[in-house]
């Protein structure tokens, strides 16, 4: 979650608790019982997260499996814990600078600007885009869809209320991205909470969409999916990129995370590189 939860790995810090084979079994188990397929996810990350859940609740693998069968609330908790939800506003300021300078001028030529933020977590990335669009007077004809598999983060995204302490760091990011004015123009502070302005929430919709199993649901001028693909293996990454390709209008933009690229796939030839360092692409055919 956005609130950095610094839980320590006490018991597991110095000893191995689950093997990769057991992780695979667990993934198979979850798929059979709940229909969620994590088999294309990074096993190294899953192992870390499962270890963390077992520690947190003091569970053996056996306990974990039986809870997953018998306790739906626990299953939801499990989904939240095994996916990484950490996010920031204006994370990687250079990225937002590139979007403003290289993408927005082009986006302005579209009559309607539909943005899909896939894997939006608690909403910080989506609201960063909303601010960029608002600053260029494009928000009025924009609509932003935020999707994630995790319903709890989506509820927080809809609220758009963040810990005021985080805003200091977000504001630094904001300034570093080269934006004029101040981030505080876009939220109101109340006690220790910062609430995103209602005007930025008007043209937004947050809903559940699973990149592994759900398909195209609209046509977009821009898709931003950052720091999600790193948790997927190469095959799943390719599958998701083709979903994005099919969801983009001609000359629509695809934004990936700073460490995520299109690689040398068949599809990469159908994109033009707009910013190599920031992994921004445009669909050209």
């Amino acid at each position: 979650m956005a609130e950095l939860r610094n839980r320590n790995f006490l018991s597991s810090a110095t000893a191995d608790t689950v093997t990769f084979e057991q992780i695979d079994e667990l993934v198979e188990w979850v798929k059979r019982i709940h229909g969620f397929d994590f088999s294309g996810y990074s096993r190294a990350s899953l192992k870390r997260r499962v270890t963390r859940i077992m520690d947190l609740h003091n569970l053996t693998l056996f306990d974990l499996k039986s809870l997953l069968v018998n306790d739906y609330a626990f299953f939801e908790e499990f989904i939240i814990e095994i996916t990484v939800n950490v996010t920031e506003m204006f994370r990687d300021p250079g990225f937002y600078r590139a979007v403003r300078e290289k993408v927005l001028p082009y986006l302005a030529s579209f009559q309607r600007i539909k943005v899909w933020n896939a894997g939006c977590s608690t909403g910080q990335e989506l609201y960063s885009f909303a601010i960029l669009l608002a600053k260029e007077n494009l928000y009025k004809r924009s609509f932003l869809y935020g999707t994630d598999i995790n319903t709890r983060v989506l509820d927080l995204a809809k609220k758009g209320i963040y810990d005021l302490k985080l805003m200091k760091h977000y504001s630094e990011n904001y300034l570093e991205s080269g934006a004029s004015g101040s981030l505080s123009d876009f939220y109101t502070a109340q006690y220790d909470a910062a609430s995103i302005n209602h005007s930025l929430k008007k043209n937004t919709l947050f809903s559940v969409h699973n990149l592994v199993s759900d398909g195209v649901f609209n046509e977009f001028q821009l898709i931003s999916c950052r720091n999600v693909l790193i948790y997927f293996n190469v095959e799943l990454q390719q599958k998701v990129i083709s979903l994005f390709y099919n969801s983009l209008c001609p000359f629509g933009f695809l934004c990936l995370g700073s460490k995520e690229s299109l690689r040398d796939s068949e599809l990469s030839r159908r994109f033009k590189v707009i910013d190599k360092a920031e992994n921004i692409y445009q669909k050209i055919e």
Binding site: N6, T14, K47, V84, V86, N233, K259
Partner: protein, 219 residues
Amino acid sequence: MIKRKIFIKKLNNLNKDIEKRVREAKVLLLGCSAGGFGLVYDLVLGLPEDFPLPVIVIIHRSKKYRSSMEELLDSKSRISVKLAEDKEQIKKGFVYFAPPDYHLLLEPEGFFTLDTSEPVMYCRPSIDVTFQSVADVYQENVIALLFSGANADGADGLAYIQAKKGLVGVQNPEAAEVRTMPDAAIGRCQVDMILSNSEIFSFIGSIATVLNSVKDGKD
């Protein structure tokens, strides 16, 4: 305070047990923080082109000023030095640095994953996280060294590697610019080696000698 003293006197003459474990190693891990960058820099600079193990370096540095340590090292050293990329296959002949602001994990198939999860003890990359993840893949065939630093990151990682029977060493706290990190590791596990700076250089040199002789012997 420090009771163990398994110093390596003559490294062309490694302790038998350590030599055996060096022979079986598949990866070398280096971790440091404040006060350790210079040492890591010089160590990497000294590595031969055919160093027999892939090397992974975790250092704590701010993402604010994009440090170009690996670019500089790559242009100056004989071995290839780079930032680890997501889903890149680990190979010998390379020194991989963890990119600032990401944890670096290793997949069982031998490729890297970058991870944006919570900092651990305020650190991302965290030495503990990478050391544990690499040990999960290579089990006992890991050599890990921890140098100067101002916090306790790496101590759990070394203990984890040791629990899997990997080989772990620290810079002698007396020789470290900031001794917190090696001290913490010594407090957390029975490190196999406590090395002076020159011993660190000769130990790494002996890794090359031992493993390359194994290879030559086979051919």
